[in-house]
């Protein structure tokens, strides 16, 4: 039985020990790729909790699931005076658990990066593996983690990107609408002063540049038109017509307002270009095969319509074929009218330049390859497959174009009837989107032939009324 004295000594000793523990127990709480290490001031490891699945554990911690951290914290019988961590996001969590916590200093952080190797070695020692090739084992594990983690990051970024693509393509459509409205207004207004220019200049940006930078028709010079890269013969005509124009006078006030409209057109066209480039680059990034097959804008529209690349990849090719023609589809279901042949895919240059009787077949060929492309882009990203997909599709397209050169008799009869409702639908829907790159190609940089179309429409309506 211990004497009273002994008891006092033991108590004293205990409190001394506790005191010691209290004063200099500053610990580092390090979240490393393969586990959580708790290290004391002298960089001695006090505990190492190895992650079973490092990637999963990191994801958990990132999503504020701190189970593994709290398990690690159980090591402390006595709360340390200070916990320093290399992972600032968990500081609040530690504080809520009555730890004093702060961020580790840069010097210590560097040290722990260098010391990592010894942490890992120790961890592997405790795993009781044979010592030979241990270093290799560690780097294999590290490598596996970093590969998985990097792929995850890449994937995350891409998933983010397709949301942005949807926004970009919608913005593009809206800008087209505004550009169309404001541009038409500008033409009509400036037309009071120089009516002949409307027919001479198709390109809305070139037109806006003349209004904005020159203004009155008398001041239009050859040099300025040259700077806009207008062909020589056209320049001559414009200058001549300007001299003989039958248009009225333009007051300074009116011109100023008109010029700000023109500036608006120019800057919208610039934004449009930026958006288009951005869509192009992003599509290359997240869905190169789809882009190759459908062009960037059409591919992006499909993704936007489906909601995401993931959703698009889960759709059947027949759904993709009529994506964007939902109205017509519901009509079919209700009234038994002919089902739509194509929705958004109508904007594919091959389809909308094809004769009507080929379009359904082309749309089916394209949508079936597009469905594959979307899946390839989502899951494997094999760069080689785009070539084979594209060349197979091209073969099929040529085949259709050859085989169905002439419409079948039924189709011929149908053609003589009025516009099919479904087709008219897609016609009006797509009309606003003809600024696209592909149209430009055939039309030689001529961006606004749609104004002609508008006129055509007006006349069409008038004659209908009569």
């Amino acid at each position: 039985m211990p004497s009273r004295n002994n008891k006092v000594i033991i108590l004293y000793l205990l409190s001394y020990l506790e005191f010691r523990f209290m004063t200099d127990n500053v610990y580092k709480f390090l979240i490393l790729e393969l586990g959580i290490a708790i290290v004391d001031e002298k960089n001695m490891i006090q505990s190492f909790k190895r992650f079973h699945d490092p990637v999963q554990s990191h994801l958990k911690i990132k999503n504020r699931d701190y189970e593994e951290i709290s398990e690690s914290l159980e090591v402390f019988k006595v709360k340390p005076e200070l916990l320093q961590t290399n992972y600032p996001e968990i500081i609040d969590y530690l504080r809520n658990n009555t730890f004093h916590a702060e961020k580790i200093s840069a010097v210590e952080e560097r040290q722990s990066q260098i010391d990592k190797i010894s942490f890992y070695t120790e961890m592997y020692d405790s795993d009781q593996q044979d010592h030979s090739g241990r270093g290799r084992d560690i780097s294999d594990n590290l490598r596996e983690f970093s590969l998985k983690w990097s792929s995850l990051k890449v994937k995350e970024a891409s998933e983010q990107l397709d949301l942005h693509i949807s926004q970009s393509i919608n913005a593009l459509d809206e800008i087209d609408k505004i550009l169309n409205t404001v541009g038409t207004r500008m033409r009509e207004w400036y037309g009071l002063h120089f009516p002949e220019l409307d027919n001479l200049l198709q390109n809305i940006v070139t037109y806006a540049n003349i209004v904005s930078k020159v203004g009155k028709r008398e001041e239009i010079t050859v040099e300025f038109l040259q700077s806009l890269e207008i062909p020589e013969n056209k320049i001559e005509i414009i200058i001549m017509t300007a001299k003989r124009s039958k248009g009225g006078k333009l007051t300074e006030e009116n011109l100023l307002i008109l010029q700000s409209l023109a500036n608006e057109v120019i800057s919208l066209a610039q934004i449009r270009k930026t958006l288009e480039d951005h869509i192009d680059i992003s599509m290359e990034e997240i869905s190169p095969n789809l882009k190759e097959l459908l062009t960037a804008t059409v591919g992006a529209r499909l993704i936007a319509k489906a909601g995401s690349l993931k959703r698009l990849a889960s759709l059947s090719s027949s759904t993709i074929q009529i994506l964007g023609a939902e109205k017509a589809l519901f009509r079919t279901l209700k009234t038994g009218a002919n089902p739509p042949k194509h929705g958004l895919l109508f904007q594919h240059p091959v389809i909308h330049s094809a004769p009507k009787w080929q379009r359904g077949k082309l749309a089916r060929a394209i949508s079936s390859k597009a469905a594959i492309a979307a899946r390839v882009d989502l899951y494997s990203r094999n760069p080689e497959s785009s070539n084979t997909l594209a060349s197979k599709l091209n073969d099929r397209i040529t085949e259709i174009q050859e085989k169905y050169k002439e419409p079948s008799e039924i189709q011929q009869r149908q053609q003589q009837q009025n516009f099919k409702r479904a087709d008219r639908d897609s016609y009006t829907r797509n009309k606003g989107k003809q600024y696209g790159r592909d149209r430009d190609k055939d039309r030689d940089g001529d961006r606004d032939f749609k104004f002609k179309k508008n006129k055509f429409k007006k006349r069409f309506h008038k004659s209908n009324k009569k």
Binding site: I114, K116, I117, S139, R143, S146, L147, S158
Partner: protein, 233 residues
């Protein structure tokens, strides 16, 4: 380029110079990932060994070697911290050279190029650890340990030299080598490229580096130079 034959071999043959009949010289490394070409470079077989031609117009280190880099610090079983891995053109050759006993830590923040890098290079070669981060955040690199023998930096940023210095101070062992590609146009468009390079070299000297060699990479790369320095800190 047909009929290449071995001309000179370094580091156990992991990196060689070949000649054709016209005595034109080609660099090549022994392919660690047999059968796979990374960036369209030619693969050839000599005496049962497979080599990849190392294009000086595509990889600045190859350009420097052909322009007489006196000493190549990257050898078999070196560990290398590589900043600015991009799609992995140069990294793949370095991975060939250091072999299975070496290690390449490849830093690249751009997700766009990193995907290709992961797919074509990092996932296929056991001696590469990819780090998808900005080299400015060097203290937070995931998947990193210990000190390395060589830091290779090619990141085309205005503050590229400072970034490289910081990385070296953290991870380069004393006496280790720094190879840094200076893209003068990223730093200063107006000043004479030569002067820009000299300024960057000064910066290194002020930070405990000893300049060993400066190579102008013309004609392989315009406005680029490569500095080889030793870290004496």
């Amino acid at each position: 380029m047909n009929q290449l034959s071995l001309y000179k071999s370094f580091d156990n043959g992991s990196f060689v110079i070949l000649v054709d009949q016209a005595k034109e010289r080609y660099l090549a490394t022994q392919n660690l990932d047999t059968g796979k070409s990374v960036y369209g470079e030619k693969i050839i077989k000599i005496d049962d060994l497979e080599y990849r031609i190392w294009e000086p117009y595509r990889s600045k280190l190859a350009g420097a070697l052909l322009k007489n880099l006196k000493e190549n610090p990257i050898k078999e079983s070196s560990s290398v911290l590589y900043l600015g891995a991009s799609t992995g053109t140069t990294v793949s050759h370095i991975s060939d050279i250091v072999g299975n006993k070496g290690m390449v830590f490849a830093v690249e923040p751009s997700v766009r190029v990193a995907r290709e890098f992961l797919e074509n290079v990092a996932s296929r070669r056991k001696n590469i650890i990819p780090i998808l981060m900005d080299a400015r955040r060097f203290l937070h690199y995931y998947s990193y340990y210990g000190l390395v023998d060589v830091v290779y930096s090619d990141i085309a940023q205005p503050d590229q030299t400072d970034i490289a210095i910081n990385n070296c101070k953290c991870y380069l062992k004393s006496g280790g080598d720094l190879i840094i590609v200076i893209k003068t146009r990223s730093i200063d468009v107006l000043t004479d490229p030569k002067l820009v390079t000299q300024n960057e070299a000064k910066k290194l000297e002020n930070n405990q580096f000893q300049i060993l060699q400066i190579i102008n990479l013309e004609p392989f790369d315009k406005d680029h130079s490569l500095i080889h320095a030793k870290y004496v800190g």
